[in-house]
């Protein structure tokens, strides 16, 4: 495919986490604009300046569309991908179902290859493909009606994914009671939505935020929460066990939910889940359903590596090795419940849902 995109950071640095840092770093507004422009420009460096002509010969590029969506920091990457794929169907000029499916597959592959370390992107694309193409309603004789049905399902999937955050926020309100203390790790937009909704519902609670090095996500999150007038306390990552006594529940997001029911999330989640489990504190995960991936890690090293350079502030001698992995895997036995747009689930239901969808 002519417009195959290379990962903007070819030396195995995870673009996913770079982008998130750019989006969520503590920045001034013009820096943010610059960063956004930079992010938006990356694909263009590799692409010809004008929209690339796709293989099918149409002036439409799924990557371009994807980037249009992705430039809004509020929109999840996977949702942007889903929307882009829906646009592919809409603009497709294929005349048979097979052709359309092939186009979709190519578009999905190019999106996935844009960043191979992003689990939600891969999972979202795969789920979209399954959801859209498995329908038996595709047995229409007329291709156009089948196509419009496909578009319908694609739009619906996009809508669900887009609204997933609101649904999750609503579902989790029952679990936040007055006077509770919530420990949050990492900057998850879903968790932020949950807390925002709780604050709007006039619940009284306070939040402990871990600093979240090296992304310093905790700083950004505490900023946001302070705007909502929610009492926030910042902890350094090492102070989690120290403060766990006062905590009533732990809330984290997820980069991906794997088949065993465990989650892959920012580095430090596993640690916090272990501490919470040993102190009998519930760990709640807020994850949209398009993040369910068909992966099954057996241990921490069993995943595709996603590296993120860490800036310690002082130069590190070259002989010293640095662990730069950006994420870890939390096994399902340390998680209490998953809040998803499909409902409040236990970790073992993830495989149930995947089996029903995939087989």
């Amino acid at each position: 495919m002519a417009d195959t995109l290379q990962n903007p950071n070819p030396n195995n640095i995870s673009a996913y986490y770079q982008t998130r840092a750019a989006h969520h770093g503590v920045v001034t507004s013009d820096w943010l604009a610059q960063a956004q422009a930079a992010v938006g420009r990356h694909p263009d460096d590799v692409l010809p300046p004008e929209p690339e002509v796709k293989v099918a010969g149409k002036p439409f590029s799924v990557i371009h569309e994807f980037n249009n969506w992705r430039n809004q920091p509020d929109l999840a990457e996977a949702v942007a991908a889903i929307r882009a794929l829906a646009a592919v169907i809409r603009n497709s000029e294929a005349t048979t179902m097979m052709e359309l499916e092939i186009e979709l597959k190519k578009a999905s592959d190019s999106l996935k290859s844009w960043d191979t370390t992003s689990i939600s992107l891969t999972a979202g694309c795969d789920l979209f493909m399954r959801y859209v193409t498995r329908t038996s309603a595709l047995e229409y004789e007329d291709f156009n009606s089948a196509k419009s049905r496909l578009i319908e399902r694609a739009e619906k999937f996009g809508e669900i994914s887009y609204k997933a955050r609101r649904i999750i926020a609503m579902l989790s309100q029952d679990f936040i009671f007055d006077g509770c203390t919530i420990l949050v790790h990492g900057f998850s937009r879903v968790v932020l939505e949950v807390l925002k909704t709780a604050a709007q519902n006039k619940k009284l609670f306070r939040v402990f935020c871990t600093e979240g090095r090296p992304d310093r996500t905790g700083l950004r999150l505490s900023n946001e929460l302070a705007k909502l007038d929610v009492p926030v306390k910042l902890l350094i990552d090492s102070a989690v066990a120290y403060s766990m006594d006062e905590v009533d529940m732990v809330f984290v997001g997820a980069d991906g939910v794997v088949e065993s029911g465990g989650i892959i999330n920012m580095m430090g989640t596993y640690q916090i889940a272990l501490v919470a489990h040993s102190m009998d504190k519930p760990v709640y995960v807020a994850a949209e359903s398009y993040k369910f991936a068909r992966l099954y890690p057996l241990d921490q090293k069993d995943m595709a590596p996603a590296l993120r350079p860490i800036d310690f502030g002082v130069p590190i001698p070259s002989k010293v090795e640095v662990e730069t992995s950006a994420r870890d895997y939390t096994p399902p036995q340390y998680l209490t419940l998953l809040f998803t747009d499909l409902g409040v689930l236990t970790p073992s239901v993830v495989s149930d849902e995947l089996i029903q969808l995939y087989l």
Binding site: E259, S260, G261, R294, Y296, L298, D299, D302, P332, S348, S351, D352, I355, Q356, Y358, L359
Partner: protein, 638 residues
């Protein structure tokens, strides 16, 4: 939990105190794995008790609390000796249960009593309701009735009877007297019929229940009658090739409880129709008396001499049976494929006798062959599933098919099953599993599993660098064969016995295990010793990957390795091959103080299993019932 449950420890070998047996209550103890899943399905049916009347109650349902009706007891007391559950007196369907709690037992018993695989030889398979004597006849003990061998063909009758009993049971108390009187009458009729039907086994009373036919069709009856399977068909073929109502299909879906071998009379009856003459082992462990155990080596010479005389037996089936008996064929997949190929031969040579329909007659024939195979060696779960599949396909044959079309269809169905469910499934499993092997891994495996062997060989072909630790155990020492094959391909291996597994586990990175079956609660049912390896691996935080084709999944639930197992030849334990000087146990078989136990299978709890690799992908153990549910009906049985 259960106050009536006596502890399992056998303090005095002469007195059986195992399971639900409460001294004096004369309630047979049947701890089986069958009941749990049946029981679990009972509660919902209870709700239907009142509304739908006759059709709502499954005969094996736990009856609602009864009020003791003393007058009924004396009727039973005379007929059934207290404290034993001999099947000689076939208690009427309603087994009196003194209390709701005991009714559980009865219900449980009933399920256990089904003439399982060995049904063919046991006409009645019937679970006799011994407990009847001490308990007032309030509840319906349809259970016993249910298990009646179809020899009576009155499954329907039985079911119907049960139904009636149930139905009436739900009626107000004052009707009980009438019912009791009716029961007394039925009992007398049954006894008469039982006497008349010598070979039919226990079922007679059930059949005599004239009430039968009407309610035969109830859906709930389907459950208890589900035992139909082999037993039913076997008995049917031997007795009358009875007509099976279409509801049988539904019943087929429910797994049947196995025959309990501690019941003397049933064992006697089974022996009468046995093709393979086996003598029971003399010195048997109390805890495992519900499993069959025969003197090893007594059957083979006898069978071999009969090879040309067994008319009803097809030579292909006979051959496979002999191979099972001698131990030439072992391993779930191998046994299943051999059996299916033998059945293909059977179908090829089959011709419908005059005045019979292909569907029923063939089903009956297959059933009789299955009973023969069971006599040679109890069925593995994979074989049981394959047989269910085959019977399902036979039952689903369109009536318009001619004989040759039907035979061709069945032939291709069997081919497709073997191909899709076993051969291709193995390929998919290998494809998934090799992604979990990284360079530098140390993989441990136990015994000899065909799936694991394929995985290791394929990973080696792909060029992955790893080494293998093969753990082996007596008496089979299957690991040696695996070791030979792996070393032959150039894989570096370590070989050790079970006693060193905790010594070597610290250097292991992954454990790959095969399975004979995976049950609905995630329990892995595999060759004995697997549980030990899995537990040690879990203690060392080593991930345990179980490789099992999906056709081996079963909806049964098993909590321990005792209630359902297989007993092998005890002499294999006392002798060490190639070392004649270790003969300390020679002649000890006759000692009263020594009992040798050679278990074949054990159950690994799901907590110790990290992942199950099937042809449906890599799933956590909690997803096995999902797969059974989603695909059991449609795909596993095609």
């Amino acid at each position: 939990m259960d106050p009536r449950r006596a502890p399992r420890t056998v303090s005095d070998p002469k007195v059986r105190q195992v399971g639900f047996f409460a001294p004096g209550a004369a309630i047979p103890d049947r701890s089986q794995s069958g009941p749990p899943d049946h029981i679990s399905s009972l509660p919902p049916t209870i709700a239907d008790l009142s509304p739908s009347g006759a059709n709502s109650l499954s005969p094996v349902m736990i009856p609602p609390p009864r009020h003791a009706s003393a007058p009924l007891s004396p009727l039973r007391r005379d007929t059934v000796p207290v404290g034993s559950y001999n099947a000689s007196d076939f208690m009427p369907a309603t087994s009196p249960t003194a209390a709701t709690s005991s009714s559980d037992d009865v219900a449980w018993v009933g399920r256990g009593g089904r003439a399982g695989a060995a049904s063919s030889s046991f006409p009645g398979g019937g679970f006799d309701m011994p407990a009847a004597s001490s308990v007032p006849a309030s509840g319906l003990t349809t259970v016993s009735v249910v298990n009646l061998p179809p020899g009576l063909s009155e499954k329907a009758g039985v079911a119907a009877e049960l139904q009636n009993d149930r139905t009436t049971h739900s009626k107000p108390l004052k009707e009980k007297m009438t019912k009791a009187e009716r029961r007394a009458l039925q009992e007398a009729q049954r006894a008469a019929k039982a006497a008349a039907k010598a070979e039919g086994g226990k079922a007679p009373p059930a059949s005599s229940g004239a009430v039968s036919s009407a309610n035969a069709k109830s859906a709930k009856a389907a459950k208890p009658s589900s035992q139909k399977n082999d037993n039913v068909t076997v008995a049917a073929s031997e007795k009358k090739g009875s007509d099976r109502p279409p509801e049988k299909d539904r019943k087929k879906d429910v797994p049947q409880p196995r025959m309990q071998y501690d019941d003397k009379s049933r064992v006697e009856k089974a022996k009468k129709r046995a093709v393979v003459k086996q003598t029971e082992a003399r010195n048997r462990v109390e805890l495992f008396r519900h499993l069959p155990q025969y003197e090893h080596g007594t059957q083979l010479p006898d069978l071999e001499s009969k090879f040309f005389q067994l008319d009803p037996m097809h030579p292909a089936v006979y051959k496979v049976g002999l191979q099972y008996l001698s131990g030439d064929l072992c391993g779930g997949n191998a046994r299943c494929i051999a059996m299916l190929l033998a059945f293909q031969e059977v179908i090829k040579d089959y011709s419908t006798p005059p005045e019979k329909t292909l569907v029923r007659d063939l089903t009956a024939k297959i059933g009789s062959y299955v009973s023969f195979l069971i006599e040679c060696r109890p069925l593995s779960i994979s074989m049981g599933n394959a047989i269910r599949f085959l019977k399902n396909r036979i039952a689903k044959l369109p009536l318009t098919f001619s004989e040759s079309e039907a035979k061709a269809t069945l032939h291709s169905d069997i081919d497709r099953f073997i191909n899709e469910k076993i051969i291709l499934a193995d390929k998919v499993i290998v494809k998934h599993a090799v992604t979990k092997i990284r360079d530098g891994d140390v993989l441990l495996t136990y015994g000899s599993s065909s799936a694991v062997e394929m995985i290791l060989l394929h990973a080696h072909e792909l060029g992955k660098q790893f080494r293998v630790v093969v753990v082996d155990s007596r008496p089979k020492l299957e690991g040696k064969l695996l070791l030979r094959r792996l070393v032959g391909k150039g894989i570096s291996c370590t070989y050790t016995h079970m006693n060193a597994v905790s010594y070597i586990m610290h250097e292991v990175t992954r454990v790959f295990l095969g399975a004979s079956s995976v049950l609905s609660n995630g329990t892995v049912y595999s060759s004995v010793g697997t549980a030990c390896v899995a537990m040690v691996a879990h203690a060392f935080h080593v991930p345990v990957l179980v490789c099992c084709e999906a056709y081996k999944f079963h909806e049964r639930v098993q909590l321990d390795s005792i209630c359902s197992n297989e007993l092998g030849d005890p002499d294999a334990i006392s002798k060490v091959g190639g070392r004649g000087e270790i003969n300390f146990l020679d002649g000890c078989a006759n000692s009263e103080n020594l009992q040798l136990l050679n278990l074949i299978y054990d159950a690994t709890p799901s907590d110790y299993v990290s992942m199950i690799i099937t042809d449906y992908g890599m799933v956590p153990p909690t997803s096995v019932p999902v797969i059974v549910r989603e695909y059991g009906r449609e795909h596993l049985w095609i």
